[in-house]
């Protein structure tokens, strides 16, 4: 669709236009991202006229939308309350907090998006910018000062990787990257 030039009143092309939306509603929602590509940013001289006049005439049907982060502006508290209702029927994510000894901040992750331990550990390494050692059933995590642990439903702290993945994601309440001797202590069996 090039622009309003395409719409000829005589031919009533609008009637045959394919668009998203219920029949009988006017195609009013012109979805156009305000985000500029790097090229545009470089070229634009920040003039008043900008690119607006060209864009307004585009009436191509909007592409399927990915959810925009933080939009619409609804507080997490409220979203969680809506989400809880949905989860109770559909099954939502499994969010757990991840802390690391020495780091003053926590991260939150959704365990459901990972398919297994390697992916999870990779993600945690990226999050906190460190490396976890090699895992072995007998000796736990060797080769680094850190060991990933988790608190299970009974309140016990376990080494990540000791139980099958499916069991892990249903019983994990929170994750903690332990440092030093505490970590080594856990390494010697469950």
């Amino acid at each position: 669709m090039e622009g309003s030039v395409g719409y000829d009143n005589d031919l009533n092309l609008r009637a045959t236009e394919l668009r998203l939306g219920l029949p009988g509603t006017e195609p009013v929602s012109i979805v156009r991202s305000n985000k500029r590509s790097l090229q545009q940013v470089a070229d634009d001289d920040c003039g008043v006229n900008g690119c607006r006049s060209d864009d307004q005439n585009e009436t191509a049907p909007p592409p399927p939308k990915a959810q925009i982060v933080g939009w619409p502006p609804i507080r997490s508290y409220r979203k969680n309350n809506i989400q809880t209702k949905k989860n109770e029927s559909e099954g939502g994510g499994i969010y757990v907090k991840v802390s690391m000894d020495g780091a003053p901040y926590l991260r939150k992750i959704d365990l459901k998006i990972y398919s297994g331990y390697p992916e999870l550990l990779q993600a945690i390494e990226n999050m906190f910018k460190f490396t976890i050692g090699e895992y072995s059933e007998r000796e736990g995590y060797k080769g680094s000062d850190y060991a990933p642990t988790y608190e299970d439903k009974d309140g016990d702290w376990m080494l990540v990787g000791d139980v099958p993945w499916e069991m892990f994601i249903t019983s994990c309440k929170r994750l903690r990257i332990m440092k030093g001797s505490e970590a080594r202590g856990l390494g010697c069996g469950v």
Partner: protein, 587 residues
């Protein structure tokens, strides 16, 4: 002449006069009159409000105001509510508590918003302040029921414990039982954010029954109906109450018990909660409806006909929070029944669905603006709007002071004309001369910012998303809005030029947030060098901004004025002009 007048009044007299001046702003003005007034005032200031915990250090506050009893602190920027601020950004309260523990043994009130509060902080509060009375943790996180247990056990004179919308970890401790049997001072308790495992009913009932001064009680979601009735019977003096109702079929015995309990509550003025409410139970509250001034139904999935019935029983309503299930017809009923309405908030029941699931349009808001002469504060989520409606609203309600409109789909145009909403919002700022807070949405060009800069002289807080064409938009706001304190922007084509041209303005404001805009790291560094009393924080989890091509824009930018200098607790993803690694906490 003025000099003699100032010295002819003794310090005690001045202090006595100052004690009648409660407002922070007035106090600040008083302290600026002359050196002696500054001295007298700082010794008798009892209440401190710090809108940005990084704008000043606790040591500085303590040095100037040695005898504070009440402190309010805010941490993360507002957009943290919408997950735009990564976890670990900051806002830790512990350094403040640590300093105040030594300096203010008589501190009795702490109010925090969007801060990270640890159990250690709570334990320190419990230990350090002998006459502690008020703890409000709004949208806070980082603590568990262990910390609450410490507060419950030690604060014998606690009057208010309010955890509104905070995230609390369940440590499986029965913290409510830690209130000793001798404790009877609770006036206000808000635990609506707690999960089901975190409250013991029997402990709650015992607590409620021995606190005769309890005026406000906000329970959590998990309290079933029969318990709700019991608790109400134990506290018929309540003024504010929040409880949920089970999703269950109507049982007449439960219903009449609940109705009876409510009818005892002659002082009840505010109701909220209503998660999972079953419409059949609503008539149980009819006996209190005529006196209700505040009703929060924004978690209740009840539909328009039941909402209309309910609202028609509440002629004294001043404040209503509700989901879009109320629909235009419900808002029309509200407009004809509730002539005292001052505040309306309509939230979307299904915000992420492209298709509307309730018949709520601009018509509902127009009806309320026409019918409710005292309407001052609006928060409205909808899926369509017109300039004509906005102009009508502006002309009907020039007394609006807070107007936040969220048209859910970004860049939505006027559904009647296809135009942007420049004219509509222009009318709002032109007519509503006392407007202090405004949130924009929908399709908007630089023109709307020209109107805002021209007319919105009292505007203190502006939120902008997916709007504008160029730097000129930002420039209009920064150069025109004289009272602007907080500006938050996302996904707008605003860049270096407007920012650098208006650098000085930024020092007159509390803060500026810009995310997904067109600001370069170079400009941030330049701004930071030019303005030493601004902290310019680039929040970017993709890695060092220096390592990317020169015209690459920063992800998020948070600029705030500060007399405390750069902070010492920045996480790795916050970049400033300083390469000094000592300023970072390393894992």
């Amino acid at each position: 002449m003025p000099k003699r007048l100032a010295s002819s009044l003794s310090d005690e007299v001045l202090e006595h006069v100052f004690s009648f001046i409660q407002s922070e702003k007035d106090r600040n003005v008083v302290s600026a009159v002359c050196k002696s007034w500054y001295e007298i005032e700082r010794w008798c200031r009892r209440k401190i409000f710090v809108g940005n915990c990084y704008a000043v250090s606790p040591e500085m506050v303590i040095r100037r105001f040695p005898q504070v009893r009440s402190i309010e602190l805010k941490g993360k920027p507002h957009f943290a509510d919408f997950n735009l601020v990564p976890d670990g950004w900051g806002g830790y309260v512990l350094p403040w508590i640590t300093e105040m523990a030594g300096a203010y043994p008589w501190l009795d009130e702490i109010r925090l918003k969007r801060m990270v509060v640890t159990d250690e902080s709570l334990e320190l509060i419990a230990k350090s302040f002998k006459d502690f009375k008020v703890l409000v943790l709004a949208s806070c996180e980082g603590f568990s029921t262990d910390g609450l247990a410490a507060i419950a056990a030690s604060c014998k004179n606690l009057r208010e414990l309010d955890l509104r919308e905070s995230e609390v970890d369940d440590s499986s401790v029965h913290w409510l039982s830690h209130f000793p049997e001798t404790y009877t001072s609770m006036v206000s308790l808000n635990i609506s954010c707690l999960g089901s495992g975190e409250v013991s009913f029997s402990a709650l009932e015992r607590l409620v029954s021995r606190c005769p001064n309890l005026r406000s009680l906000k329970l959590n979601r998990a309290v079933p109906l029969d318990k709700t009735a019991n608790i109400l019977r134990l506290a018929p003096q309540l003024v504010e109450f929040s409880a949920c109702t089970y999703s269950a079929e109507l049982r007449s015995d439960v219903f009449s018990n609940l109705a009876g309990a409510f009818s005892n509550c002659k002082e009840l003025r505010s109701l909220s909660g209503f998660w999972d409410v079953v419409p059949d139970y609503l008539p149980a509250i009819y006996s209190v409806c005529s006196r209700l001034t505040s009703l929060n139904l924004s978690y209740a999935t009840i539909l328009s006909p039941d909402l209309i019935k309910l609202v028609s029983h509440c002629p004294s309503l001043q404040r209503l929070l509700v989901l879009d299930y109320i629909e235009d017809s419900g808002l029309e009923a509200l407009a004809s029944n509730c002539k005292d309405l001052q505040e309306l908030r309509v939230f979307p029941s299904d915000p992420f669905d492209a298709e509307p699931n309730a018949s709520l349009t601009e018509q509902g808001l127009v009806a309320v603006s026409l019918g409710c002469p005292k309407l001052q504060s609006v928060l409205y989520f909808c899926r369509r709007m017109s300039n004509a409606a906005l102009v009508t609203i502006a002309q009907n309600r020039p007394n609006l002071n807070r107007f936040r409109l969220c048209i859910i789909e970004p860049n939505t145009a006027d559904y009647l004309t296809g135009e942007p909403f420049d004219v509509g919002f222009g009318a709002i700022v032109e007519h509503c001369k006392d407007l202090i807070r405004l949130s924009l949405s929908g399709l908007l060009t630089d023109c709307v910012f020209e109107y805002i800069g021209k007319y919105a002289k009292k505007l203190e807080m502006l939120s902008v998303a997916f709007a504008g064409d160029s730097d000129l938009g930002l420039h209009h706001v920064l150069s025109g809005c004289e009272s602007l304190r907080k500006l938050e922007i996302r996904d707008c084509p605003f860049g270096d030029k407007a920012l650098l041209t208006n650098a000085a303005k930024l020092e007159t404001m509390q803060s500026l947030w810009m995310s997904s805009c067109s600001v370069s790291f170079e400009a941030c560094k330049l701004l930071s060098q030019k303005m030493p009393r601004l902290n310019v924080e680039v929040i970017d989890e993709r890695g060092p901004p220096d390592s990317r091509p020169e015209n690459c824009t920063v992800d998020k930018l948070y600029i705030y004025r500060s007399v405390a200098g750069p902070r010492f607790d920045m996480p790795p993803f916050v970049w400033t002009k300083d390469e000094d690694l000592a300023l970072r906490l390393s894992p």
